[in-house]
Structure formats: C-alpha cells, structure tokens
C-alpha cells in the first residue's frame, strides 16, 4: 500500500482528467439532449428523421464501440481528433442520446390541457415550448437525468481504452509500475464509488429543490430508490 502513496500524484492527475471529462461531457450532453429531444418531436420529417436516427444509433451500440470507431475509424474518413476531444464528444453524444429520450418523454407526458390553454390564449409554438412546456417538464426530467449523469461519470473510465490519461488509465499504469494490483484497484473502485455517491446526493437535492409537489420536499432522500439505472434499449 505504501508504494502507491508515491504514485498518488499520478492518480491525482488522472482523477482531474476524469473530472474534466465529467464536467465537459455532461454540459455538452445536456445541450445535445434538448436539441435532439426537441428535434425528434418536430412535425417536419426532414428535421425529425435525422434526430431519431442519431438517437437510435447511439443508444443501439455501446459507448466503447463508438469510442473505438471515432478514434480509429474516423481518421480514415479524414477527421482526426485528439483522444481527449474524442472522449468528450462521444461521452456527450452517447449520454445525450439517452437524455434526449428523457426530454422527449417528459415533455410529451404533459397534460394536453396545457397545450390547449396556450392555443386558446394565442401563445405560439415556440413560446409555448420555452415558457410553458419545458419549465413544467424539468422536475420530471431530473430523476432520470441523475441516472444519466452517474452513467456518464462511470463511462468516463472507457476513455482509458483510447489512450486518454484518465483515472483508470493512471491506475493501470501504477499497477504496472508497482505490482500492487489489489491495492490499486481497490483505490480505483472506492474513489469511483464515492464520486458516484456525491453525484447521487447532488441530484437528490436538485430533485427536492425543484419538485412541483411541495410535500415531496419534506420527505428525506431514500438512498435505495436513488439510481434507477439509465436502463437499456428503447423505451426504458
């Protein structure tokens, strides 16, 4: 164990990269989620179809396949990006596709009376979406967004396979240099776990803060109900 302490700075460097991936990836994923989610709801098939195809392709394959494709195959089509940028882009596109379905689902599940009231009051489609439907849908989006956030965080580890020097990559390097296999991996697992817990609690706090139903605010967070996993496939 003591030999790992020497290498702690390397692990720390890796952890910083992992946290950068988390912050940049989730910010970009949020933008993609709203763009693709709203795009897929468009009545115009020329707009709707590309977004639907994007969402289904990114949800239908796993992130590691997308990473490999973007890192190894894409240069053959003339686009060569540094590994870190590939990592951020794929994280954001992959989790953004999952989150887009959350956005779409939450907005679609608003009572039709809201839309009808807007029509009756002569509120146009853009204002209706921006001022009425989206703000109302945010509380319903938060719990599944929390799961996507934790998934995104866990998936940052995959960038180690395309040579990004993240926390996992540094862990493997330290293992090779010290031979302290068990200690290194326990360190990795515990740190990843603790950060996941922080993210879970953060999202729980947001959920209570933005709950429409005020009584919900009073109830304490239930740890076991926290992470409905991002779940699989279509319609999860």
């Amino acid at each position: 164990m003591s030999t790992i302490i020497e290498y702690a700075p390397r692990l720390w460097e890796g952890l910083i990269v992992t946290l950068q991936l988390l912050v940049l990836g989730s910010a970009l994923a949020l933008v993609i989620a709203f763009a693709a989610g709203l795009g897929r709801m468009s009545r115009n098939p020329v707009i709707r179809f590309p977004f639907a195809a994007f969402i289904e392709v990114f949800r239908g394959t796993s992130m590691i396949v997308q990473l490999f494709w973007a890192f190894y195959a894409l240069p053959f089509l003339g686009l060569e990006l540094p590994a870190f940028q590939v990592g951020v882009a794929v994280l954001a596109l992959n989790e953004g596709a999952y989150a887009a379905e959350i956005v779409r689902g939450a907005i679609k599940s608003r009572p039709t009376g809201q839309t009808e009231a807007c029509v009756a009051l002569g509120i146009g489609p853009v204002t209706r979406m921006r001022r009425i439907l989206i703000p109302q849908s945010i509380p319903a989006m938060l719990p599944p967004f929390g799961n996507v956030l934790v998934d995104l965080f866990k998936n940052t580890s995959l960038v180690a396979t395309i040579t990004v020097l993240d926390f996992t990559y540094m862990g493997l390097e330290v293992r090779t240099n010290t031979g302290e296999t068990t200690a290194v991996f326990i360190t990795l697992l515990v740190v990843y776990f603790l950060i996941s817990m922080v993210l879970w609690f953060m999202m729980k706090w947001f959920e209570r803060r933005f709950a429409i139903d005020r009584t919900k605010k009073a109830s304490p967070p239930k740890l076991w109900a926290i992470a409905r996993p991002g779940g699989g496939g279509v319609g999860a």
Binding site: E56, V57, G60, T61, S62, I64, V65, Q66, F68, W69, Y72, A73, P75, F76, L77, V150, K154, N155, T156, S157, L158, A160, T161, T168, G171, L172, R175, T181, T182, F185, I186, L188, L189, Y192, F193, S196, M197, W200, L223, W224, A227, R228, P229, G231, G232, G233, V234, G235, A236
Partner: protein
C-alpha cells in the same frame, strides 16, 4: 483510403465468430444476473439482519463503480489469489455480478408491487414461506418486470464489448485486432457497430411490443 467492400466481405466471417462469442457471453452473463439478482432481492426483502444490509451495500457499490474497472479488477486481482479463470469466464462472471445489482432492484420493484392481500391470504391459509414465494409472490412479481429485465439483457449485450479490454475475443476485440493487423480500421469497426445495432435494435423493438402486451392484459 475509403470504404473497401471486398475487404469488408473478407473479414465478415471472423467478425461473425466474434459476435457469436458476444452472444454466448451475454447468455451466460444474463443467466448469472437473473439468478443472483433474485437471491439478493429476496434476502433483502426478508430483512435478514446484517446480511440484508451487506447486500444493500453490494447493490449500491456495484452500481456506483464502472464496469470496465470491475472487469480489470477481477482480471488482475483474481490470479494473484491463485484463481485463474481465463478472460471469457472472468468476463462472464463480471457481467453477471454487475448486472445482478440491477436485476436485484428490478425484482425488488416487482415484489413490492405484489398486492399486500396476497401475502395476507398466504398467511391466513398458513401456507409455508417457501410456496408463498415460489407459488404466489414470484410468479406475479416476475410478470410485470419481464420487459425491464429484457432491457437489461440488451444493455448487457451492448456492454459486453467492454470485455474486449480484458482480451475476451468478442466482437469488438476481433474488429480491433483486424484493424491493427491490416491497418484498416474503417471497415472492421463500422461492421462491428452495425452488427451490434442489427441485434440490439430489433430486440429493443420486440421488448417494447412485449411491454405493451403485458401491460394491456393486466
């Protein structure tokens, strides 16, 4: 240097072999996840002192850590304790254990959805614990969660590509190997993506249909 169809066709048989390994790993992995998840869910529901709490932490911990790191940990740590299983078997166990934490939560939601009257009726008829579970509670619990378990199956199928990192010769690993040998990544990795999509998308559509059918008949 762009798409070469002849090359793509020539590597297809090897990639399909990789897909077969992927499917085998997923089948074995889901079998472990379904069995282990059920055991975890039932023990947690019965509130066995200490054991239930330990399993609760197990579920939380497995879900809070990346599958890739779990796979590396198992792959590198087990041999230091003299347990040598080979990449495929290690990978299957990691997949199964990882997903058991998710299926346990699914089972739990199914068990909690079973009406309380069912338990009370079983008690009133002094039905022993075992048939209460196997004949009354679980059959009703499982029905409503079949689509959710199906979605995890698809998710596991996609996630199994992560096992390429511990040298399991599944689909992505084969694609990656061909790419490195020939220095042509475009065709193998594109086919890998298409093959994953070709299995997971129809499966997802089927699950969605199943979900609708089970929902209506309730």
């Amino acid at each position: 240097m762009t798409w070469d169809t002849d090359f793509a066709i020539s590597i297809l048989p090897r990639l399909l072999q990789g897909l077969w390994i992927t499917i085998q790993a997923t089948m074995a992995g889901i079998a472990i996840a379904l069995a282990l998840g059920l055991i975890v869910a039932v023990i947690r529901y019965m509130r066995v002192p200490v054991l239930s709490q330990v399993l609760g932490f197990y579920v939380l911990f497995v879900r809070g850590t990346p599958l890739l790191v779990q796979a590396y940990a198992a792959f590198f740590i087990l041999p230091t304790f003299g347990i040598v299983l080979g990449p495929l078997l290690t990978g299957i166990i990691v997949l199964g254990v990882n997903y058991s934490a998710y299926t346990a939560e699914v089972y739990r939601s199914g068990i909690e959805d079973v009406a309380k009257g069912q338990w009370e009726a079983a008690t009133a008829l002094s039905l022993p614990a075992r048939p209460t579970w196997t004949r009354i509670v679980l059959p009703q619990a499982v029905r409503s969660i079949v689509p959710m378990l199906g979605n995890y199956w698809i998710q596991m199928f996609k996630d199994s590509a992560i096992l390429s990192a511990i040298t399991v010769s599944e689909l992505l690993y084969v694609g990656q190997t061909i790419g490195a040998d020939q220095y042509r990544y475009l065709e193998p990795l594109t086919i890998v993506g298409v093959l994953f999509l070709a299995v997971s998308y129809p499966a997802a559509v089927l699950i969605r249909r199943l979900e609708r059918r089970l929902a209506i008949s309730r």
